[in-house]
Structures are given as structure tokens and as C-alpha cells.
Symmetry: C2
Subunit: 473 residues, 2 copies
């Protein structure tokens, strides 16, 4: 009896090992199918061409944003998904106005024109512009150091550069973005009349980089205008200030905040064949800044997410769970789309097991970062060998994507595609973020990499964890 | 006694573990120093600017190649190395002549101009150009299929594209380059009068990509002219041929082969403080094709290799072994510099323990490939964790670099820097290979990654293996 039991045990073990091998082989073959389809017959690049060159910058509340909603909805409908719909969401509407103008001038000297752009959300200067003495600081903490005595009545020039020695460029960005986001709000407390912020990029060039800023709950009457200056001009201004601290800065810009307007998240899904109630989201954000085409930020993420569903359809891989593409509106200056999507999901008591965002540019994919519990992350790490042939090696905890972050609930695994990011901030929020800066292969590799992870999550799922609220990030 | 012995053993173990920890800490700190110096105070980008924009394309035997020899020698001398010298080498001299001209024409139809460039080493067409019926093939093997009957008197158009589904672009290139290298030699055997080869790039654009070709030992009288056509025009020509197989191709070009001329490898070294007779080489090739600036191929490798020695000098890390930078002449159309360097090393009975080449573009570094014995490769793999903070993950067997390959002797470990290569063939051997296509950070990360590996090899060395001739590649 013992002998028979042992035999039976060994037999089961053999069956199980062989089943595992054949599952791994199937996974390997299906990943290859997804990559081949993306690289040989991909549609992401063509979609991005349209979004970038036929539509262009897609700031929330703009006509272009609405054109992008309509275009992507139409394209998703062509894919033969099970459902495609628009999810209404109220978004802020801010417009840049006429092109900004600025110069630096020493007493009695010539005017030296510099390149600036209004930060998103900034108020306008007076119609005749704003001229004041300029004072350079290296960050928010310097405001207290100089105090009202040295700041009042001046334009504050925040000039802390992104540190080049930080390997992960998003970390370098994260360490500097407070100047842009809160610079005006904080400087106004010390009586500053305006704010100029060094563009957040490693590159020294003439392109200013915009981005969101906030006045918090500051009353309208106290709000001061804020602009980004190109790194080349920031270097110039700083060197001028070293020679002569009595320097005037003049700038003129006419941005305007309007009441909120209605826009939409664009959503499409393939309904799961076995567990339709378990939802996997893949997405990017449809809005962009207005200076370039928003090709990397985040046209790439949009078309890659659409491509994930198309790859499933075209390869004939039928998902067990529901796979939903969500093109979020208003990531750049409000996150209204991300919040709305999560609110509705909560109201409907939908069960999102996984959400993946691509919002770090259309560059060569290196892997993913995750917000997950230990047991969930362990499962993911088991899949790493499947990605090796595609040079995908980065599987780390730490962050996902802004739009999907409101889905965080202690159970849903969140992930962000991590492309090579060394060049990302050359383009980010600047006029240089255009279609020609995106490489077709790199974009397609990213889409296939996302589809591969979605395939594995769909196939193997995640165990629902009831207790232990701690999540690894 | 046993107790004392055990205590002593445990004590030794603790000492050894603590020594290992402190060595690992020192390594980690020194790698950080090398990266910081490259990213914060690097010189590679400035050197590349000069090589690309002040000198430009540096084809072997050209005035520019000699200017590059002089410039890099001067710059190495400024670094305070222990020795800098020129190593004479005879190199081929081939010139492109006046700009090539080509068109396609159906009987009685208009002439449709297409973009071509002569392949390096090709003979000229007659002064009045060459016009003949064109036949499309997909590779060398098709020549036999069509035979003399269909090929004689015609221009053969090799149109096999680089396969987009091959993830490693160098493999895709390797699978197609035979058309370019041997197309003319093989087609001539079937009576072809000329050869047009689809450019070796994934990108569909108007830039033809040149590269070396060979007639082997074919007598001069039998040699037929060979050119590369842009991918856009290759697609056009192919689609025209589908409509009408009776199509003429006309091309006119005036390249010329001259007798060999003298040029030089540029060499500099920091002599080792403890084992000066053990030599570590780091290098790239100084020559380039003539169409662009040769910024990626291989200006990047040249300045990164120079930077490796500068990083050692500037960080004050004193190598135990001799570290030598070698800027090889004539990789593109002869490999004379690489062969000469290895010949002289052999004559002098120099002991090269390691050679590292950067010749795959100045893109974000991903890691290295190696030719090494199992025990050597195992040692290298132990260093992988040190590279993780820099996102360097690729440590694989399989190839090194063309210029250092003649050093292969069963003992010397050979390595190649492996940058991200997805965009490489957009620029390779084309007019698009210019300075602005190289990103400063990516270039600097590559230099620091190379310096880090050189640092570890210098510190730990490799055991010399006397027997077992099998090398892993």
C-alpha cells in the first residue's frame, strides 16, 4: 500500500511537473506571438501619428482633447471589442493665451530676450507685463533664509537644477518639482510679485518646459504669475546675477482659468470568458500639455494601451478575465479622470485585480514597477524568466502611475511600465515632445511588454487578500 | 585544543567575511565615484562634439582621419597619462567621389530619382553611368534560383529587409549583411552588371546606409559597382517591379580605390602600480564612414574609452595593472588597426588579461557581452550586484568587438559594451549618424559603466589558464 501510495505520489508529481513545463511553454509561445504581432503588424505607431500630427497637443478642456476622445473611441470601436464607452468627467480648463514674452535687463543696459512659458494654472501678468528686480534661490527652503526683507516686491527665480548624478531620472525630477508646483504659492507669502522656475530637464537648451502648479487655497487677489524658463536662459540669468544682483526681469503672459467643462475618459473592454467580474485595467492619459504634440507624454501610453487589447484580438488569445483599456482625461492638471474612474468603480463595486499604466514615454521598455503585497509580488517575480528574451529585466516595487493610483485599495495590484528614461526629460512638457522623438520599434516593444504582463495576470490571477493592510510600494 | 581551533577558525571566518564586506563597500563607493565624475564632470560629450562637428566623418586614409588621430593624441596627452603614442598602420584608401545619382524608369515613362550611396570599396560606374534592367532578389541564395538566364546583363536588387521581430537588432543586422558584403561578388558570377542593396536599417526613410563590401579575389575587370538604396526607395522600387518587371535602373557614381596609405592607432596608458605587465585594453575605433559625423559609430566608443582613463585620473583611483586606451584605425573597411595592434602585442609578448570595446552606439548602457572561459565568466557574474544601482543588468556570453577580436588567444577575456540598440540602425553608416543623435547622459553612463568594469577587472584580475582551449562565446 505504501509502495502504491509512493508510486501514485511520484506519478502526480510527474504530471504536475509536466503540466508546469507545458504551461511555461505555452506562456513562452504566447508572449512570442504578442511581440511578433506588435513588431510585425503593430498599429500603435500609426495611431500615435494621428494623435500627434493630425490632432496635436490635447490640454484638458481644449477642442483637441475632445477630438482625441472621439478619435480613440472610434478606433477602439473598430477593434471589435465587447464594449466601448465614454465616461463623463468635469475637467479644469486653462488656456495659455498669446505667446509669452520675457527679457532680462540691467539698469541702463539692453534687453536680453529669454524663453519662458506660463506654468499650467498660472494667472496672467498685467496686460502691460510685469517688471521687477529678480532674486535667485535654489529651492523653497531658501525663501525663509532670505525672508520678506529680500523677497518682497521681487520676482523669485527658482534655479535648482535636476541632479545629473541621480540615475533614475524620475527621482531627480521628483526632487525638484516642488519649485514648480508650489513656488508661486510659497514665494507669494514673502511678498514676491512673480515666479520664474528653471525648466525641469537635464538638457541645456532653449526650450522651456511647462507643467502644473497650484496656489492651494490662496485667494485670487494674492495669486502671482509663474513661468518656466529654458535651462539655457536660466544659466544665462544666473551668470548675469553673479555679475550684477540689481537686475530686472520683465515678463508678459495672458493665461486664463475658466470654469470646469465636461470631458470624458475613453474606455473599452474585452469581457472575460471565465471570470468577467475580475477586471484588469491597462491605460495611459489622453490629455497632454499644449506645447508639443504630447507624443511621449502620454500619446505613447495611450496607443500602447489600445494596442494591448488589439494584440489580444489579433492573436486570438481569449482572456479569462475582463481586460479594459482606459484612456484617462486630465492627468496633467487635475487627475480628474483617474479619480472619476476609481469613484465609479467603487460605486459599482467592481473588482479590479490589476491596473497597469504607461506614462513614462515611448522608449525601450526595461520592465515594471509595482505596488503589491509580498505574495502578489512573489508571483510576479516568477514570471521574470519569460521576459528575458525581450531584454525586460526590471521588476521592482515602487510606484505605478498617477491615473491608476486612486484604485489603490489594498488588494488591487498596481503597476507602471518602466521604459528607459534617460532622455525622457529632454521632451517632457516641452515643444520638443513630438512624434518624431518616438521610435517605432521602442514604442512597439513597450506595447508587447505590457500585453505580455497582462496576459500572465489574466491567466494566473492574484489571490484576494482579506487582511493584513500593509502594501509594499 | 579542538575548542581553540574551532574558535580560531570562526575568528578567521569572521575576519574574512568582514574583509569581503569592506571590499564590497569599497567597490560600491568607487563605482559611485566613477559614475558621479562622468555624470557631473564628464568630458566625453565635449570630445564627441569636437570629433563630430569640428572634424566630421573620418574614413580611413582621409584628411579627417588624420585630424582625428592628431586631436585624440593631443587630448590624451593633456590627461597626464604615463605614456601616449601613435602606432603606425597601413590602411586602405577609398573615396566616394561626387554625389551618387540614380533613377528608375519604365519604358517610355518618366525618370523617378532614388537615393543611393556607393558601398565602401565599390568600383565606379562608367562615366556616363550604368543603365540596365533590374531584377529583385531576397538574398544571395536567390541568385542560384534565378540563374544566369535571368540575371545576366541586369542590375540585381537585393531587398531582404532586417526582420523587425528579432529583438536584438545586431542579430537582425547579422542575418542580412551578407547581401551588402558579398552581393556584388556573387551576382557578378551570374553575369550581373551592377548591384543595388536595400539599406540595413529598420527605419523606412530616405537615407541610404553605406558599409563595407568585398570582391574577394575577383580580377578588377570583373568587378561590378554596388550601391545601397534607401529603404523608402527600396519599397518604392519593389512596388514598381510588382506592377512592371520590365524596369530600368540607372546609376552613376565615381568612387575610387587608391593604394594603401599610412595611418595610426592612437594609444595611451596608465602604467599599473603593482602588475604593470598585465594589460587591460579599453577602446573604440577612430575611423568612421563619410556620410555623417560618425558620432554613434564610433565616435561614442572613442570618447568613452578616453573617458575611462580620465575617470581613473580624476577620481584618484590608481590601477594596479596597466590600463591602456586604444583608438583603432580602420575598423570599417579593413580592420587593419585591430590586426596591427594584436600583431605588435604578440611580437612584444605582452600579456593582455582583458580587452573591452565600445562599438555599438552611445545609447543607454544595458551591460556587456563576453568571450570568456567558464571560471572567468563566473568571476564576472559575481560583480553583477554592484551594477544594479546603475540599471546595468546584461551580462551574457557572446561576442565582444571587431577591433579587439584579433587579441583572442584563449586567455584574454574580451568584452563589448552593450547599449540599448533599438535605434542604432536608424543611424548606422548613414548621414543621420550625427552629434545631435547622441544624448549626453546616455553617453556618460556608458563611459562610467565601462570604467566600472575596468576597475573591477583591474582590482581582481583573472587567473591565467594554461590548458583547456575551449572558450565560451
Amino acid at each position: 500500500m505504501k509502495y502504491i501510495a509512493t508510486c501514485f505520489f511520484l506519478f502526480c508529481l510527474a504530471i504536475s511537473a509536466s503540466a508546469q513545463t507545458s504551461a511555461a511553454q505555452e506562456d513562452s509561445l504566447n508572449l512570442r506571438k504578442l511581440y511578433d504581432m506588435s513588431l510585425l503588424n503593430g498599429q500603435s505607431y500609426e495611431w500615435l501619428d494621428h494623435l500627434s500630427n493630425k490632432i496635436g497637443g490635447r490640454l484638458s478642456g481644449s477642442v483637441n482633447a475632445e477630438r482625441a476622445v472621439q478619435y480613440t473611441k472610434d478606433e477602439l470601436e473598430k477593434l471589435g471589442l465587447d464594449k466601448v464607452w465614454l465616461q463623463p468627467v468635469m475637467v479644469p480648463k486653462w488656456t495659455r493665451g498669446v505667446k509669452e514674452y520675457a527679457y532680462v535687463q540691467a539698469a541702463g543696459g539692453p534687453t536680453n530676450v529669454v524663453n519662458i512659458v506660463a506654468l499650467g494654472g498660472s494667472v496672467a501678468t498685467p496686460d502691460t507685463g510685469l517688471r521687477a528686480n529678480v532674486i535667485e534661490v535654489q529651492g523653497l527652503e531658501d525663501l525663509q533664509l532670505y525672508g520678506k526683507g529680500q523677497i518682497e516686491g521681487k520676482i523669485v527665480f527658482f534655479n535648482r537644477p535636476m541632479p545629473p548624478d541621480v540615475i533614475q531620472t524620475f527621482s531627480a525630477y521628483g526632487g525638484c518639482v516642488d519649485q514648480r508646483y508650489s513656488g508661486a504659492k510659497e514665494a507669494a507669502k514673502y511678498g514676491a510679485v512673480g515666479v520664474i522656475v528653471r525648466s525641469l530637464t537635464h538638457k541645456i537648451d532653449h526650450y522651456p518646459h511647462t507643467g502644473s502648479m497650484s496656489y492651494g487655497d490662496m485667494p485670487d487677489s494674492k495669486r502671482i504669475p509663474a513661468a518656466a524658463i529654458s535651462t539655457q536662459d536660466a544659466e544665462y540669468l544666473s551668470s548675469m546675477l553673479k555679475l550684477n544682483t540689481d537686475l530686472d526681469f520683465y515678463f508678459k503672459m495672458s493665461p486664463r482659468n475658466y470654469p470646469d467643462v465636461e470631458s470624458h475618459n475613453v474606455i473599452g473592454e474585452i469581457t472575460g470568458s471565465e471570470k468577467p467580474e475580475e477586471i484588469i485595467v491597462v491605460g495611459g492619459h489622453l490629455d497632454s500639455w499644449d506645447l508639443g504634440d504630447g507624443a511621449h507624454d502620454d500619446g505613447a501610453g495611450v496607443v500602447q494601451s489600445m494596442e494591448v487589447l488589439r494584440l489580444f484580438k489579433e492573436t486570438g488569445i481569449r482572456p479569462k478575465r475582463t481586460i479594459r483599456v482606459v484612456l484617462f482625461m486630465n492627468e496633467e492638471n487635475g487627475l480628474r479622470g483617474g479619480n472619476k474612474y476609481a469613484d465609479v468603480a467603487k460605486q459599482k463595486k467592481e473588482n479590479h485585480i490589476f491596473a497597469l499604466e504607461s506614462d513614462a514615454g515611448g522608449f525601450t521598455p526595461r520592465g515594471f514597477s509595482f505596488n503589491a503585497r509580498p505574495s502578489q509580488f512573489e508571483k510576479i517575480q516568477n514570471w521574470e524568466p519569460l521576459f528575458k528574451p525581450y531584454l525586460i529585466h526590471y521588476f521592482e516595487l515602487g510606484g505605478s502611475g498617477a491615473d491608476i493610483s486612486p484604485l489603490e485599495n489594498g488588494n488591487t495590484v498596481l503597476a507602471g511600465l518602466r521604459p528607459d528614461s534617460q532622455r525622457y526629460f529632454d521632451y517632457h512638457h516641452a515643444a520638443t515632445d513630438t512624434f518624431d522623438a518616438v521610435n517605432k520599434r521602442e514604442l512597439e516593444l513597450g506595447a508587447a511588454t505590457m500585453a505580455s504582463l497582462v496576459y500572465l495576470v489574466d491567466k494566473y490571477g492574484f489571490d484576494r487578500i482579506q487582511k493584513s493592510p500593509e502594501i509594499l510600494k
